[in-house]
Assembly symmetry: C2
Homo-oligomer: 435 residues x 2
């Protein structure tokens, strides 16, 4: 069942952490995403960002309602990853949210929780979970149409697109957390005019603005997940940059799909915004254009059609090293909406498991590049510069067809709805370093 509203979404709730009450904070008490951080060389510790602080959960689990959580939840909080908590299912995540919320609005607990509250700037994020498998979908029909137009002008959208939530297996080992530098990959590329490929640093390095969907409880091998139950396997969302080397991709991808053009790095933002935090921002599944087929029955559920979408606004920003040297802020390249995707999260989960494939706690599903129908909503440079033919101008006078060494890509995400406190995702950052 898709989570519904409760007292933890109440806009009038007041947190005793002052910075969490600022109107521009990404992390008000109504958010409470989960992640894992380190202080210096200390152990990886499960934490919740609140305002400009991080609440280190193992340090405060003896206080307030945290102290009365079931032992299995308290044990899971002592682990260096969220996998254990994810495996416990939605009720456990909800109980934890309510306990943390309760502690952070109870001013009487401030002195007790203080030792667990450290500046966000003083901790470094690590990957929130051990990712067993990473899958990348292709759920934006605008992205698929744009990319298809460049590579197959006569046939941009393949006949399966509107029936099958297209996806492919990605590389789990090279998923890194925000802030990790991304080395420009080397590889084979082939000029159409030349008889043989050459090997060297990619000259078509790109980002892809995506949303990462984290799996909570898994399913046994051989047992599909009916769409009515998919919400129970959905733990939360983060931002995801699926770095792509377009020149490698173009030469390697037939007939088995992208491989080395993607597997050199995928960046995720540190915090997983849980399905409970997303409750106020649920929206109907995106309306399909007239004439498009309805989803097949195994991908259709009334609840999912009415509330399977998520109103999450995304933004991509870029800063070159010259811009940073000159003290210029990053420049916004595009804005798009997760709610515009052709498939809902539940449809992606159910399709993935429909052949009996077993999903596991901590598995990561990328949404695919989130692009909208307009130029300023294109979620990667391949689309924005139309394969390099329409370069972007930067405020320094530089131009960009694809990413240059020193470029930093920053993804941001926000959920907004009238009557509710807006919540943010934190940034998903990465700087390109030379091959």
């Amino acid at each position: 069942m898709i989570p519904t509203l409760d007292h933890t979404h109440d806009a009038s709730a007041t947190c005793w952490v002052e910075s969490a009450r600022r109107p521009d904070t990404e992390f008000p008490v109504q958010n409470l995403p989960l992640g894992v951080v380190r202080e210096g060389d200390g152990p990886a510790t499960i934490a919740v960002p609140i305002g400009d602080r991080a609440l280190l959960l193992p340090r405060v689990s003896g206080h307030g309602d945290l102290a009365t959580l079931p032992a299995e939840i308290r044990e899971a909080l002592a682990a260096p990853t969220l996998n254990g908590l994810m495996a416990l299912g939605p009720d456990a995540a909800r109980a934890l949210r309510r306990a943390v919320f309760g502690a952070l609005v109870d001013a009487g607990l401030e002195s007790k929780l203080a030792p667990g509250l450290v500046p966000l700037a003083a901790v470094a994020p690590v990957l929130p979970a051990l990712i067993g498998d990473y899958t990348d979908f292709y759920a934006s029909v605008h992205h698929a149409t744009n990319v298809g137009s460049m590579f197959r002008p006569d046939n941009p959208l393949l006949p399966n697109y509107k029936w099958v939530p297209i996806g492919y297996h990605g590389r789990a080992s090279s998923v890194v957390v925000s802030g990790t530098s991304v080395r420009r990959p080397r590889g084979q590329t082939k000029d159409d005019q030349k008889p043989a490929p050459t090997v060297g640093p990619s000259r078509g390095l790109d980002y892809e603005c995506e949303v990462g969907i984290w799996v909570g409880t898994g399913n046994p091998l051989g047992e599909p997940i009916p769409i009515e139950r998919a919400a129970g396997h959905f733990f939360g969302l983060s931002l995801l940059n699926d770095w792509s080397a377009r020149d490698l991709q173009r030469w390697e991808y037939q007939p088995l799909g992208p491989f080395l053009s993607k597997s050199f790095a995928t960046t995720v933002s540190p915090w997983i915004v849980t399905t409970d935090a997303l409750a106020p921002f649920r929206a109907p599944a995106a309306t399909r254009p007239e004439g498009d087929p309805a989803p097949l029955p195994y991908l259709t559920a009334a609840e999912d059609q009415s509330a399977g979408g998520i109103a999450l606004d995304l933004e991509v920003a870029l800063s070159s090293s010259r811009m940073r040297t000159a003290g210029m802020p990053a420049v916004s390249l595009s804005r798009s909406s997760f709610a515009s995707l052709y498939w809902t999260v539940a449809q992606l989960i159910t399709h993935h498991a429909s052949n009996g494939c077993n999903l596991a706690p901590g598995d990561l599903l990328g949404s695919g590049t989130v692009s909208g129908p307009t130029r300023d909503s294109r979620g990667c440079l391949l689309e924005l510069t139309w394969r390099g033919s329409e370069p972007l101008d930067l405020p320094t006078g530089e131009t960009r067809r694809f990413l240059e060494d020193g470029d930093e890509v920053i993804l941001r995400g926000r959920c907004r709805r009238d009557g509710f406190v807006s919540i943010g995702f934190g940034e998903c950052r990465g700087v390109v370093i030379p091959a």
Copy 2:
């Protein structure tokens, strides 16, 4: 460096386990593959098959040269997977091999090792390693040409094939060990004559006869593996059945490659035959047909060209439930050779890491279907029955275009060379159960 011959390959060595001296054994003392087994509900235990016995290594690590192995190796042997041993690198694996060999040829140790020696029939294999990522290659040019001929008659082998070791990311979670039943997957299929796809059990279920390449030591993200050093990252081989639903594959695979048509199950044989055991069976890299390009420099090393191949003979056998009921043995469907592949193991490893992708101990690389140039060397039913148009006859009078419920697929592998004791891989088995 590719392992060379030493005393552990000596054909005159005599093991005190009688069944290991039988000429038809797969597991003579010159083999000593590694795996993980359970006795009943007991713990997962690292073991070596010898004749018709399994030597449970943690139980005997206090005897003979095993007792003087470095502490890190002895600790790794106490684990429930081989990942720890794999991470220690080729010298550790070789030291372990020599110690086990020494103990099994020293008749004076028989009584001391007896408590660790149990019938193979009394233990059940489990997966030998925790597989972080599974990658599937496409390294048989005969398979690629056959499949391409069916789907793209005018253009069977794509222009990249002879330059790029084509591969794709597979699903790690659904890799299962030999003996695990495989549930027929359901999914979308589309009849060319109909306007919409339908959903149901696959009617094109197939096996693929492959070899599984296990990664030993890994490489850090961003640091490629030069081909001269690839052998140091190659731990060993097992057999691998990449079960495939051809009807799902045909509809879903464009443009991002196979997904649900493969991710329902991949079966590996229990034992990893180590690179040291394979030393006598090394062969030159397969000769490329005249006119084919030489591998690019990053995929070329003198040692790999002269000894990068492995003379491993493969066989696929099938038994239907009617055949088993009638007491008939499985029928052989094809035989092919791992040495015929277009790319060597080192080339696959080096290409995989050439963009900086990090491989890790326990990662699994499938070779792709190993087919030869002749009809009786085609490694899957898609090729053998030419997409169902040339059905196979079984001794019961049944015919097969694709697999039926109850069918058992058995892969077998053997290395042979004059003057050396032949070694076997053990079977890779799986029975198809209904959707």
